[in-house]
């Protein structure tokens, strides 16, 4: 089974000025540091991790809107680059982005209709009348009434704006949708609606999703597979239920522990401790070791590789949690 999207060893380092403001010495910021995953067609990969761990950077590297320093991205059998050549342009039609903040992703000077039609116009698809038709039908599919066609973004609610962003992404009939925190800027009351909409749309248009969120709970609702990121690396990957009930990596465990549910209530939560992580001067060895309750001497010197566990999951940890209370109970 070959995947629609295959990502191998993605790296993006920024050279930034260190402490001391403008005059600090240049240091390397490892935003993304060797990320690999694959998504089969029609499936959803959930990418989770704390803010700043490199999720958005990964998204932009995957789409080729940011130049990578190393690694490879294969989409539908073709490499994805960041040079704006003919292939890059044609790939835009097959892979689209859904942004975190719909208000800033939309142009406040253009009507909803114009913005939904714009990708079709840019790629020269159909005559004006066809584009108009298509936009209306896509707006209908995302649950936007045609009366919004001539409205401006600021006249819409947050949920409606995110539907506009979705319609704009879908008008080119893409195969892959990269959703970067698509609901975290929305009111809690409408988050579920948008999640359900995304699930419906996946079915309807047989879409493949790379779904990014800092919230494991949200990812669990939509993803067929989950990858957990920490400081630019994937530390655990696997089936969402298994990951949620029996996290193998201490970091995943801490993420799960941070979610209050009836199941976790009785247990001692493994809260995150220690300094918040910084992608500058990452610690040697396992970069999680300063915060890890299981850390030992080996963790400080040797970086763990992402390797398969018995149950088909992958974890990058020298001492993965193999049997958990949840599992024993089951």
């Amino acid at each position: 089974m070959s995947a629609l999207l295959e990502v191998e060893g993605l790296v993006k380092h920024y050279h930034v000025r260190g402490g001391g403001g403008l005059f600090g010495a240049p240091v390397v910021l490892k935003a993304v540091d060797g990320v690999s995953f694959a998504i089969p067609a029609g499936r959803t990969l959930g990418l989770v991790g704390e803010s700043g761990c490199g999720k958005s950077t990964t998204a932009r590297l995957v789409l080729g809107t940011l130049a990578r320093d190393d690694g490879q991205v294969m989409f539908d059998g073709e490499p994805v680059g960041s040079v704006r050549d003919a292939r890059w342009r044609s790939q835009r039609r097959a892979m689209q982005m859904v942004y975190q903040d719909p208000l800033s992703a939309l142009d406040r000077r253009l009507t909803v209709g114009k913005q939904v039609m714009e990708p079709a116009l840019v790629h020269g698809l159909g005559a004006a009348a066809e584009r108009h038709e298509k936009a209306l039908s896509i707006m209908d599919a995302v649950g936007l009434s045609s009366r919004f066609f001539d409205r401006y973004p600021h006249e819409l609610s947050g949920g409606q704006r995110q539907r506009v962003v979705l319609a704009r992404a879908l008008i080119l009939s893409p195969k892959l949708l990269v959703c970067d925190e698509p609901i975290s800027a929305l009111d809690v009351s409408i988050q579920a609606q948008v999640i359900n909409l995304l699930v419906d749309l996946q079915e309807k248009f047989s879409l493949t999703y790379l779904f990014i969120s800092h919230d494991l709970k949200v990812v669990r609702q939509v993803a067929h597979e989950v990858a957990v990121m920490y400081l630019g690396r994937v530390v655990e990957r696997g089936d969402p239920e298994a990951l949620f009930h029996a996290p193998a990596h201490p970091y995943t465990q801490a993420l799960v522990g941070a979610i209050p549910t009836p199941r976790t209530r009785g247990r001692a939560r493994a809260a995150l401790q220690g300094d918040p992580p910084s992608p500058i001067n990452t610690p040697p060895g396992c970069s999680f070791h300063p915060r890890c309750p299981r850390a030992e001497a080996r963790c400080r010197s040797e970086a763990p590789l992402l390797r398969p566990l018995d149950d088909g999951r992958f974890a990058a940890c020298h001492f993965p949690v193999l049997s958990t209370p949840a599992r024993e109970a089951a």
Binding site: L63, T65, R84, W88, R89, R92, R93, Q96, M97, Y99, D101, S104, A105, L106, D107, R108, R109, L110, E118, P119, V122, H123, R168, L172
Partner: protein
């Protein structure tokens, strides 16, 4: 009875007050004047009582009506018997057209260079910033004067040259705004769907920064009017037989003792026009973009 009428008057006055706070009387007057001279320029050919070059040798240096003259020449006539009112109308049109076209040119240059600097950054930006500094550091009037005299002045060249005035300010503003806009989601989103830079800058960023640019252009217009009239006054701007406001004043200078009315009306029109456009420009700036300067 009086009790009943009280609330309605209150509503009325507060409504009126709100109206005048949004549209101060000075701004209304300025807009009225601008509309008036704009209409005069558009319908100049119908409004002129005489051809502006027509000589009336029987009625030379006729006094205007307000100086006990006849209605034959409302604003008097010059020493060739040309009707001052007709010349004034023609001059208003000429000066407005020059100011408007030159400002459009300056805006075109400024916006293009500002966008180029914002798009490419790096050495392109450094060169453009250098050109901006250069423009701000040179005596533009003097150079314009020399160029005009040596190039043999044509109207086209003159307008192009006036279009060199003020582009650097618009370029500086555009660059700053475009760099800020690029950081914002909508421009990146457009670029990421595959839109060309022309589309990103022209269809997205430009409309978003247009209000500030319009303010800057409005504030440029009175400066161009002053520059044009100054050069024309020196005899280096608009050349006879064409005429402009500065031209009329420069010509009238010779007759300041005997026929001051020749320069009086164009001088008043220059002052009122620059004043009106400045007032409107300041008002627009306060309303649309208080951050500008």
């Amino acid at each position: 009875m009086s009790d009943a009428s009280l609330p309605s008057t209150e509503v009325e006055t507060s409504g009126r007050r709100r109206f005048f706070r949004a549209w101060p009387p000075a701004v209304l007057l300025a807009l009225a004047w601008i509309a008036f001279i704009a209409l005069v320029s558009i319908f100049a050919d119908w409004l002129k009582p005489y051809d502006f070059m027509a000589l009336d040798l029987r009625d030379r240096l006729a006094e205007p009506v307000f100086m006990d003259g006849t209605f034959r020449h409302l604003l008097g006539s010059d020493e060739l018997g040309r009707d001052v009112l007709s010349r004034l109308i023609e001059s208003v049109r000429m000066s407005l057209v020059i100011a408007f076209l030159s400002t459009l040119i300056a805006a075109g240059i400024g916006v293009s260079l500002g966008f180029l600097a914002a798009h490419f950054r790096g050495w392109v930006e450094q060169i453009i910033l250098g050109a901006i500094d250069f423009m701000a550091a040179i005596p533009f009037l003097i150079i314009a004067l020399a160029v005009l005299a040596f190039f043999g002045n044509t109207l086209t060249l003159f307008i192009l040259l006036m279009g060199m005035h003020g582009w650097e300010r618009i370029a500086r503003i555009t660059r700053g705004l475009a760099i800020a806009a690029k950081e914002q989601g909508y421009a990146a989103a457009a670029s990421e769907i595959g839109a060309s830079p022309f589309r990103v800058y022209g269809a997205h960023i430009l409309p978003n920064i247009a209000s500030t640019l319009i303010v800057a252009m409005t504030l440029n217009i009175p400066e161009v009017i002053l520059l044009e009239s100054g050069l024309s006054f020196l005899g280096l701007g608009v050349q006879p037989p064409l005429t402009s406001l500065g031209n009329m004043v420069g010509y009238g200078r010779e007759y300041i003792q005997t026929a001051p009315w020749i320069l009086l009306s164009p001088a008043v029109v220059i002052i009122l026009t620059t004043l009106a456009v400045s007032v409107v420009g300041d008002w627009l700036r306060d309303r649309l973009d208080p951050t500008l300067r």
